[in-house]
């Protein structure tokens, strides 16, 4: 069963301020990453998106604890040079689990989508990134081909798709918001 997790972070002032703070890398990086990291804010933001995306998959699999980024290790296939890279791929490790990610870097944000299997083996999925904070019927139609859907969240903050009638639909859903950007990924038919 393919599960996905996504995370988007804007490359705006507030995130740079947070991830430039002394002590931020200590809270975010694993022991392995601490040895190899250049500790730049953009690198920390990228690693954070990877870890949060993987954490969302873990949550769907029943993980109960809060997000602890230093427990995850991100390994890129090729060490990224952020001034040049537009796409980074690789793996995220947590205990004995491995997740597979692709990060896309734009002028405005870093977006990471992770799966619990290699991307090429993942069930066909639909993704959208758009410049608004709301989720409307048209956006969900564009992702699913179905009308009158809504995204709701469980008490553990895990998103799911339901019909307006209340029927819970058999889709895996991941949502991320940061400032004005929203990213949604939907995998049909679990």
């Amino acid at each position: 069963m393919t599960l996905c997790g996504n995370d988007i972070m804007t490359l705006h002032t507030e995130n740079f301020r947070t991830f430039s703070r002394p002590g931020a890398s200590r809270l975010i990086l694993s022991d392995t990453e601490k040895k190899e990291s250049k500790n730049t804010a953009i690198e920390l933001i990228w690693r954070w998106t990877c870890k949060e995306a993987a954490f969302k998959i873990l949550m769907k699999a029943g993980h109960q604890e809060a997000f602890s980024p230093s427990q995850f290790s991100v390994v890129a296939k090729i060490p990224p040079i952020f001034e040049e890279e537009k796409t980074i791929t690789g793996s995220i490790f947590w205990e004995n689990k491995r997740f597979f990610f692709q990060s896309d870097i734009s002028q405005d944000y870093i977006y990471t989508l992770a799966f619990n299997c290699p991307k090429e083996k993942a069930t066909k999925y639909s993704s959208i990134i758009y410049n608004e904070t709301s989720i409307n019927l048209d956006i969900l139609y564009s992702l699913t081909g179905r009308n009158y859907l809504a995204i709701q969240k469980t008490s553990r903050n895990i998103p799911y798709l339901s019909a307006i009638s209340g029927e819970i639909l058999n889709y895996d859903v991941s949502i991320s918001n940061d400032e004005e950007f929203t990213a949604i990924t939907i995998i049909p038919g679990l």
Partner: protein, 80 residues
């Protein structure tokens, strides 16, 4: 403990989009899920707590901080 509760709320309030959610928060309120704090701002909250109380919160302890009460417990334990 009431003072500690108020102080933590004040720290969290700086990073809240909806300040009223924090004003109305209880000890049991979940920082991300209930108070709608962006998860990246938890880094700021932990670093602010470290600075204010002159403690260092182990990176592996972050996953214990889900509610305001959890943050109060971590501070109390670190202060011995």
């Amino acid at each position: 403990m009431e003072t500690l509760f108020a102080e933590i709320k004040e720290i969290i309030r700086k990073y809240a989009f909806d300040k009223k959610l924090v004003d109305d928060a209880k000890e049991s309120s979940r920082i991300i899920a209930d108070l709608k704090i962006n998860s990246a701002r938890v880094v700021d909250i932990v670093l602010d707590i470290e600075e204010k109380y002159d403690i260092e919160i182990d990176d592996k302890s972050i996953n214990k901080i889900i509610t305001i009460q959890d943050a109060m417990n971590v501070i109390s334990q670190k202060q011995g």
